[in-house]
Assembly symmetry: C2
Homo-oligomer: 197 residues x 2
Amino acid sequence: MATVGLRERKKEKTRQALIRSASRQFAKKGFEGVTVEDIAGACDVSPRTFFRYFGSKEDVLFADADAQRAHLMDVLAAQAPDVPPIRALRAAVLEVAADYESQREAILLRHRIVMATPSLTSRVAERHHCWESAVIAELRRSGRGAGMPELTLRLSVAATTTALRVATELWVEGDGEGDLRALLASALDTLRTGLDG
Amino acid sequence: MATVGLRERKKEKTRQALIRSASRQFAKKGFEGVTVEDIAGACDVSPRTFFRYFGSKEDVLFADADAQRAHLMDVLAAQAPDVPPIRALRAAVLEVAADYESQREAILLRHRIVMATPSLTSRVAERHHCWESAVIAELRRSGRGAGMPELTLRLSVAATTTALRVATELWVEGDGEGDLRALLASALDTLRTGLDG
DNA sequence: GTGACGAGTGGCAGAGCCTGACAGATTGCA
DNA sequence: TGCAATCTGTCAGGCTCTGCCACTCGTCAC
């Protein structure tokens, strides 16, 4: 049996406690109105320990980013080898959109915090940019992007992740009431058909 | 005649000195290897004064961003009213590309600094994201985007600025030897025609 | 020319983020 | 129980950035 030791369970518990503590306080007092000391203090942990779990105060807000990125990459890698790159990527981002919808509250909360804090908006952009690089690397690794010129490959990936971002923004602005996957699918179709005007 | 007083001339001089001092030292010792004290000290100015010119250490690296954004917006606003939004935007980003080419050395230097400093990559992304909002606002203001659904409008703008980013990245990776405008034009054509595969 | 006004500056103090180093506590295992 | 690895707290310190106050120096009116 895969017993995880007490140590690891404790660690995961602290990690989750820090994330919850941070989210709660950010929502109440704004990102800049909360110090690392506040976050750590609410968990009976020293600020130094906080930084052993998260590289920065911003990181705790995007703690699940790695998991989402991993999911994206998994779905991408799981596509049949003969599926063309853009179609494979389409499936992957639609999967991420489904993730977002299933974590609706958390995503909405985070986006509200981000919107209210100019210095954070760049972080979201960075995340998507980071995904971009990873996706390109994966497409290259799997040989899927072999026949495409460099510019086309990069542009396709960048445009697709951009579609995910734009669709998500609209969805969030509508308080997550709309159908994110439908929105994203529509955006992807637009990209496939071509922008006119 | 528009004589600018000694005071203002001095101010502009300090500003330029700070920018040059920063660029030079960043190039030599890396962004994080240089402190604000270093930058200011090299100009015989106190750190406190540095922050009166630039909101942050990062800002000094993107000092010309405002001018470029203004140029982009000017070209956009100067398009004939009957030019459709995407075509107007195309003209504007091509103009920015021309700017980049004319400031080749400075752009290349900056991108190298950014590439070498993970924490800065988000800033570039943020800049483009910021342009996006401004462009959308302008298109809305001029009534150019009137007939388009929200999603299409935003996606078109986002995809176009993304094309600028991707083309610029490729251009920089090739040490600015290629033809940035041609690269961008090709990317824009791809977006217009539609992504296939 | 002289003096008043205001913009620009420097220095100081301080909050907050983040890191390295060391010592103590806790867990896992023999 | 005792050892080794891991996790934590404390301390010291550097850096970014801000508010505050006094000072200097252009600018402008008289």
